[in-house]
Symmetry: C2
DNA sequence: ACCTGAACACCGTTCAAGT
DNA sequence: ACCTGAACACCGTTCAAGT
C-alpha cells in the first residue's frame, strides 16, 4: 500500500491527537465549504469553522489574513473546477465551433445547477477579492478565451455572420449564460414562467435559442 | 400654504425633540438606504441605523420583525422605482414593438448603472424575502408582462420570426439584460474586454446586438 | 402605542503568552 | 512555527420595564 504523505512530506498519521493540527488550512477550507453548502456562503463564519475543527477562534488567522481571504481561496478552488468542467464539456475539434460554444455554455449551466454552493461562491463578489486573485481571474480568463476562439472559428467557417464583432458576440454569450445561472440562483426563474423542475430544460433551451439566432440563416 | 401633515394626520412639527419619534419606520428606511449607499447592502446594520437616528437598538424591531424585513421593504421601494423607470423609457405606441423592447432593456440597464445601490438591493436575493413580498413580485411581473407583450406584437408585425416561442424569447431577453447588469455590479465586465468608462456603451451595444439577432432578416 | 435598558448568544480580529 | 486565551468592538434579537 502506498504511504500517505502530508503536504510537508512527513509520514505522521493525520488522525493523531495533540499535534498542532498539521493541515489547518485545508481543514478550514473544507469546513467553510460545508458551512456554505448548509446555509449559503454569506453565513460562513470563521469562528464556526474553527469550532467544528476543534481549534481556537484565533487559529484561522494564522492561515488567512481575514475572512475574505478564506472565501477567496474557496472561490479559487471552485473557479478551477468550473474551468475544467467547461473545457471537458466542449469536446474536441471533430465538432463545429458553434456546437462547441453551445456545449461550453451547457457545461457552465449544468455545473452551476449541480454545484449551487460552488457557483454561489464564485459569483459572490461581495465576499471575495476578485481583483486580488490571479488564480480566479485566470480561470475566468480561460473561459472567455475559449468563447472568443469558438466565435472566431464560427465566423471563419461561415456559421456566424462576420458582420458582428467577436468581443460583442462573446459578451452577449457570457451575459446570457451568467444571467441564466444567476436567475436560477437568485430564484427568479419562477417569476419568468419556468415551472418548478423545468429549470434545466428552460436554461438549455434559452441557450439553444441564442445559438440559433447567432447561426447564419440560409444564404440570401 | 397647505398644511403639512404627518402620516397620522397630526399637525405636530416633525423636528420637535422629546417625542416618540413620529415616523421611525420612514427614518429607518432612509438610514438603511444611506448605509447601503456607503458600504453596500450586505453591511447595513439595524443597530447602526438606529444609532444614526438616535434611537435605542431595540426600537427598530417595533417596525420590522427582523433585519430581512427592513431590507425587503427597501427592495420594494427600489423595485417600484425600477418598474416606473422601465415603463417611462419605453415610450408609446408610435414606436415599433422591437424598438420599445430595446428601450425597455436600455432603461433597465441605465437605471442599474445610475442607481447601483438600489439595483444591488433588488438583486440581493440572500438579504431579502422575495417570496414573501407581493409588491416586489408585482414590480418584476409587470416588467415581464411588458417584455412578452412587445415580443408578441413584434411577431404579429413580422419583426421577429414567429417560429420562436414568446416565453423563450422573453427569458433570453431577461437573462441578457439581467446578466449584463449583474456583470457590471459584480465587476466582471473588465474581465470580458470592456475598458473602464466604456461600461455603458458596451452594455447597450450588447443589448442592441441581441435585438439585431432577433430581428428577422430580409425575407428569403 | 412606542421606546429604553439590559441581557444573550453570537461575530471578526488582535495580541500577548504558551508549546 | 503554530496555537490558545482573553479581550475589544461589534452584531441581531428578546423582554421586562418605562412614558
Amino acid at each position: 500500500m502506498a504511504k500517505l504523505k502530508t503536504e510537508r512530506g512527513t509520514d505522521k498519521a493525520v488522525s493523531a491527537r495533540g499535534y498542532h493540527h498539521g493541515n489547518l488550512r485545508r481543514a478550514l477550507l473544507e469546513a467553510a465549504l460545508e458551512l456554505a453548502q448548509q446555509h449559503g456562503p454569506e453565513r460562513v463564519s470563521v469562528r464556526e469553522a474553527a469550532r467544528q475543527i476543534g481549534v481556537s477562534p484565533a487559529a484561522p488567522f494564522r492561515h488567512f489574513p481575514n475572512r475574505r481571504a478564506l472565501m477567496t481561496a474557496l472561490a479559487e478552488e471552485a473557479g478551477e473546477r468550473l474551468r475544467i468542467e467547461v473545457r471537458k464539456s466542449m469536446g474536441g475539434r471533430e465538432r463545429s465551433p458553434l456546437q462547441r460554444l453551445r456545449l461550453l455554455g451547457r457545461g457552465y449551466l449544468q455545473w452551476a445547477m449541480r454545484h449551487p454552493s460552488h457557483f454561489k461562491i464564485v459569483s459572490a463578489r461581495d465576499q471575495i477579492d476578485l481583483e486580488g486573485s490571479i488564480a480566479l481571474r485566470a480561470s475566468i480568463g480561460e473561459v472567455r478565451a475559449l468563447t472568443e476562439q469558438m466565435l472566431t472559428e464560427a465566423q471563419q467557417q461561415g456559421q456566424v455572420d462576420a458582420a458582428h464583432r467577436v468581443p460583442a458576440l462573446a459578451l452577449l454569450s457570457r451575459a446570457t449564460v451568467y444571467g441564466l445561472a444567476r436567475m436560477h440562483q437568485d430564484g427568479h426563474l419562477g417569476q419568468w414562467g419556468v415551472a418548478a423542475g423545468e429549470e434545466a430544460v428552460a436554461m438549455t433551451d434559452t441557450l439553444d435559442l441564442l445559438i440559433a439566432l447567432m447561426r447564419r440563416g440560409p444564404a440570401v
